[in-house]
């Protein structure tokens, strides 16, 4: 059973990565923060007593559900707001897109040595390419290789079979490698 300190440490360790997960899916920093807050609240209020080893899988399952819930709410809201939003000019849309990319590209190149500039560019390119992946491929890839969940845990977190996880991971890796190669990054 996870103690309060273990739960706190887990949330502190995962919150920034969870925000990035939500940002990749939503491309809206306020929405991503709301989703992460909702996921943390659900985990703490319902599953805070589960063993510490189960927390990562549970949290990511909750996070994926919270993202899905957010998309559902957006879809319902868009039924009402689409006629109104069509009256706004395109400039607002461009600003929103650029704000989302700024939130993903969190590093600043100014006054940084050449190596650091190169790394900042790599981070930006990776953020963009990961955000372009299909949602399930991105989730599988990030859970396996960034969150270090094994195939079984990833399958539980995503609510799919282990075979699907392997397929999603493989496709995501190929797509990312091709995208990076196309942008001149091959190591």
């Amino acid at each position: 059973m996870a103690s309060r300190q273990e739960l706190s440490d887990f949330l502190a360790g995962v919150e920034r990565r969870a925000f990035k997960h939500a940002m990749f899916a939503l491309r809206d920093s306020d929405g991503a923060l709301d989703v992460v807050q909702d996921a943390m609240l659900r985990l703490a209020s319902r599953y805070g007593t589960r063993p510490a080893a189960e927390l990562p899988m549970l949290f990511h399952r909750i996070l994926q559900n919270a993202i899905t819930d957010h998309f559902r709410r957006l879809r319902v809201r868009s039924l009402w707001t689409t006629p109104l939003s069509s009256l706004q000019n395109d400039q607002n849309g461009e600003q929103t897109e650029s704000e989302a990319l700024e939130a993903l590209d969190v590093g600043s190149d100014a006054d940084e040595p050449a190596g650091e500039v190169e790394r900042a560019q790599l981070r930006t390119i990776l953020d963009e390419e990961i955000a372009r992946l299909p949602r399930r491929q991105r989730e599988a890839f990030l859970l396996r290789y960034w969150e270090d969940l094994n195939v079984a845990e990833t399958a539980l977190a995503m609510g799919c079979s282990e075979g699907s996880v392997k397929t999603h991971c493989s496709r995501a890796a190929h797509a990312l490698a091709e995208a990076l190669a196309a942008r001149g990054i091959e190591r």
Binding site: R4, L7, S45, A173
Partner: protein, 143 residues
């Protein structure tokens, strides 16, 4: 670049990226964590593993910390009002039917009890009707 090598590159880049989030974001994340820990239920009994699939789809009342109502009460809360409304509508329908029948009976009685006005005898059609009625009555008597 194989899958593992790519994963290593991505992991390093994403870790760096996550470490460089703006202060506004990290501050809000810390506040969200504090709020979540304030709602943490440390003494509650653990849930069975099969409930994992339902994560994230619990009623709001339980999220707020209150007890979830029993299934029987939830069903009763839906069925009882519907039954009351249906019974009310049925009662109104029966009353309306009776009221209408009473109105029609009253109207018929009033018409039958009323004397035929003088102007009716001046009407040609009424005269033809009377002749037909009286001839039919005679025919019945002769038989």
């Amino acid at each position: 670049m194989n899958e593992r090598e790519l994963a290593r590159i991505v992991r390093v880049a994403l870790d760096e990226s996550a470490d460089r989030l703006p202060y506004r974001t990290t501050h809000r994340l810390e506040a969200a964590r504090a709020a979540a820990l304030a709602h943490a239920r440390v003494e509650a009994a653990p849930r069975p593993a099969h409930e994992i699939v339902r994560v994230g789809y619990r009623p709001t009342a339980e999220l707020a910390g209150g007890p979830a109502p029993r299934l029987g009460w939830r069903i009763a809360a839906i069925v009882v009002p519907i039954a009351l409304v249906a019974a009310g509508l049925f009662g109104i329908s029966v009353l309306e039917t009776h009221q209408r029948a009473d109105d029609l009976a009253e109207l018929d009685a009033a018409m039958l009890a009323d004397e035929v006005p003088i102007s009716a005898y001046a009407d040609r059609g009424f005269g033809v009707y009377l002749r037909n009625v009286s001839s039919q009555a005679r025919g019945h008597e002769e038989r």
